[in-house]
């Protein structure tokens, strides 16, 4: 789960990390009033969770109320890399002489957190990492001890941060690590961490991703989860408790287990189709989850055909078959053709239960995918006129 910039900055500020003065605004008038209150110049920043907001026109620096109005009007309501902007952060513009990068993330190979510091802030750090890995100082942290002050200093001095601000930057890094640990973050990043002419250090941007598996013990962060920010279908999937990712194709995919669902997507592509989604109903799914999954995929208007692929371990074929029947018997006309393949636990029982008037049954994964791709292509051809 990714926090918005304004949410992350709120968390930072509460922990004592200096951030610029700012106000959140959802209308042009609110934005102008906020800018007047903070004092010019201010930055007007789209609050959507995409990288490269600045380059895409989602951040404007303005010097007076008129410019603030123009910028807020342009940014509010804009479509930024597919996401609708409905809020902006109006923020004091910091007059900086230097831009640093600090971050904490999980090194999955080592199984422990790593802190990173660079004097090359303000640009895409992944590019810096690719072109000049030496420009980033890395310090692994023992998760049991937590970051020690010397480790923060080691990273900060090692990165070549100016001596005038090194102590403050070290202290901020220590605070950020503590936040990372206390709030179950998976990634925490300040880019840029700005240094002013008076040698003050201030977090001008804030990225904070929280471990979705730890939200049960971070109730205040769980409340920040912004379902409205994503796609409507993704919000619905959240409600149903599915792992769901929407894609752009027309073959809907439902399956159990991440690896097998990914494989089903890949096979749709391999056989010339285009996957519409990733939907993992999880292990041990009962009839109701199956019904919900079909409802999800049917409500994606891009979908022309559905492939339902279950390999039962803890999931039982008879439960799945019952769910498919129940879901489809509710329709006067099946909205989109459904191809089912059941294997594993109670697959034979499931096959017997399945109402083959309502679904097409295939014996293998490959056949099921090919059949669904063919259905989708037929229907897509029919709806686009197909009079050739």
């Amino acid at each position: 789960m990714k926090l918005h910039e304004y949410q992350a900055k709120g968390v930072f500020a509460d922990a004592g990390v200096p951030v610029p003065a700012s106000r959140l605004a959802s209308t042009v008038d609110e934005a102008v009033a906020a800018a007047d209150e903070i004092g010019y110049p201010v930055a007007i920043k789209a609050q959507v969770q995409v990288g490269g907001r600045g380059k895409a026109g989602g951040i404007e620096l303005v010097d007076d109320a008129e410019e603030a109005r123009e910028a807020a009007d342009a940014i509010l309501g804009m479509d930024l890399k597919g996401l609708h902007v409905d809020r902006v952060l109006v923020e004091e513009a910091v007059d900086f002489v230097d831009e640093l990068y600090v971050g904490v993330t999980m090194d999955r190979t080592e199984g422990e957190p790593v802190a990173m510091v660079s004097t090359r802030g303000g640009v895409d750090i992944e590019e810096v990492a690719a072109q000049d890995p030496e420009a980033i100082a890395r310090e692994h942290v023992d998760p049991v001890f937590g970051m020690q002050p010397y480790e923060a200093r080691k990273a900060v001095y090692g990165a070549g941060v100016d001596r005038a601000v090194a102590r403050d930057v070290s202290s901020i890094l220590g605070t950020l690590y503590d936040l990372w640990a206390a709030r179950d973050a998976t990634e925490l990043e300040v880019n840029p961490l700005m240094v002013t002419g008076d040698d003050e250090v201030i977090a001008a941007d804030a990225v904070m991703n929280i471990d979705g598996d730890a939200l049960f013990r971070q109730p205040d962060l769980a409340e920040m989860e912004d379902e409205a920010a994503g796609d409507d279908l993704e919000a619905k999937a959240n409600e149903y408790g599915f792992d769901y990712v929407r894609l752009e194709g027309n073959v809907g995919i439902i399956g159990n287990g991440a690896g097998l669902v990914m494989t089903t997507l890949d096979l749709v592509d391999h056989y010339g189709g285009a996957p519409a989604n990733f939907l993992d109903i999880g292990g041990g799914a009962k009839a109701e989850r199956v019904t919900n999954a079909l409802d999800m995929v049917f409500s994606d208007e891009n979908v022309e055909a559905v492939v339902f692929n279950i390999f039962g371990g803890i999931t039982r074929g008879d439960e799945v078959a019952t769910g498919i029947n129940e879901a489809l018997e509710g329709f006067d006309e099946i909205p989109k053709p459904v191809v089912v393949r059941l294997a594993g636990t109670n697959a034979a029982e499931g096959m017997e239960i399945l109402n083959t008037d309502l679904v097409t049954v295939e014996a293998t994964l490959e056949e099921a995918v090919q059949r669904a791709v063919a259905y989708a292509q037929d229907r897509a051809g029919a709806t686009t006129g197909g009079s050739a």
Binding site: T109, E112, P143, A214, G257, L260, M262, D266, G313
Partner: protein, 289 residues
């Protein structure tokens, strides 16, 4: 021969009195696994199908001479259960639990490094040596004893590939699901080196997926240290960057690291053929047997 588990393994189940724990213990026993004890705090003195339950892992291991644990404890308490298993100095711990917070696993991993215990998982289907014993939730009936080792980050994809192998009359030595989380106890290399050392394993199937660099490391290991032929499969070719595809570990980073193509290229460079479909993987295995 087999790796990790056989009919002689003495197995204890952590969380044996829970719904999943009881159900899968029954399945394991039915398959032939020698389940000697359960461990659940506060449930000491009870029995599950005649299997004695102890309050602590230490007591269960000591009294019943257990060397292996299978963990079905819910995510919020799982890290504690894993630390307890490590403290008891078992040989092998298999963590089935899905959804353990990353920072908890980071601490478990830190402790793991100080012990000689092998941890498989978490968020994995378990380990099976067909015809001998299984640890976890794998459906025993699709496996058959034979000469091919299998290692995978995914549960149901493992079943798919095993089913394809078995249908074509190709049996397995041992199949290991290493788990779909970012931090897991044993990576591909940890399993590949055991298959390489196992005299009965004549070929290995390795099923990877997007995210992380484990497959790339495995490719380096295969090219330097393995004589046993390996065939691969990589799931997630069509996954968009920045989206978590079900498994917490299955994510292509915004910067493009962890893509399926990078893994396929690394494996191909190591001389490992990668199938476009699960059936193609089985074709590659047929070719080398």
């Amino acid at each position: 021969m087999s790796i990790l588990v056989d009919a002689d393994s003495r197995v204890l189940v952590q969380g044996i009195t829970g719904g999943e724990g009881t159900f899968h213990t029954r399945q394991m026993v039915e398959y032939g696994t020698n389940v000697v004890a359960g461990a659940v705090p506060g449930k000491g003195g009870q029995e599950v199908d005649g299997i004695p339950v102890y309050d602590t892992v230490g007591a269960a291991a000591r009294e019943e001479d257990a060397d292996t644990s299978v963990v079905f404890v819910p995510p919020a308490f799982a890290a504690d259960a894993l630390l307890e298993a490590l403290d008891a100095r078992l040989d092998l711990v298999v963590a089935i639990t899905e959804g353990i917070p990353q920072q908890d696993m980071s601490r478990v991993y830190r402790k793991l490094r100080e012990t000689d215990t092998t941890l498989i998982g978490p968020n994995c289907p378990g380990v099976i040596t067909p015809g001998e014993a299984k640890l976890g939730i794998l459906p025993g009936n699709i496996f058959s004893a034979g000469e091919v080792g299998l290692v995978s980050r995914s549960g149901t994809l493992t079943y798919q590939v095993v089913d394809n192998l078995t249908q074509r009359g190709i049996g397995q030595t041992t199949a290991v699901g290493i788990g779909g989380d970012p931090i897991i106890g044993t990576d591909f290399v940890g399993i590949l080196e055991r298959f390489e050392a196992d005299t009965r394993t004549k070929a290995v199937v390795m099923c990877g997926e997007i995210g992380g660099e484990d497959e790339e490391e495995a490719a380096r290991f295969i090219s330097e240290y393995m004589d046993t032929p390996v065939a691969g499969f990589i799931a997630g070719r069509t996954a968009p960057p920045g989206k978590r595809m079900g498994h917490a570990g299955a994510i292509v980073s915004g910067g493009g690291a962890g893509t399926a193509q990078s893994k396929i290229d690394a494996l191909n460079d190591a001389g490992v053929p990668v199938g476009d479909t699960p059936e193609e993987v089985v074709d590659h295995i047929e070719d080398v047997l």
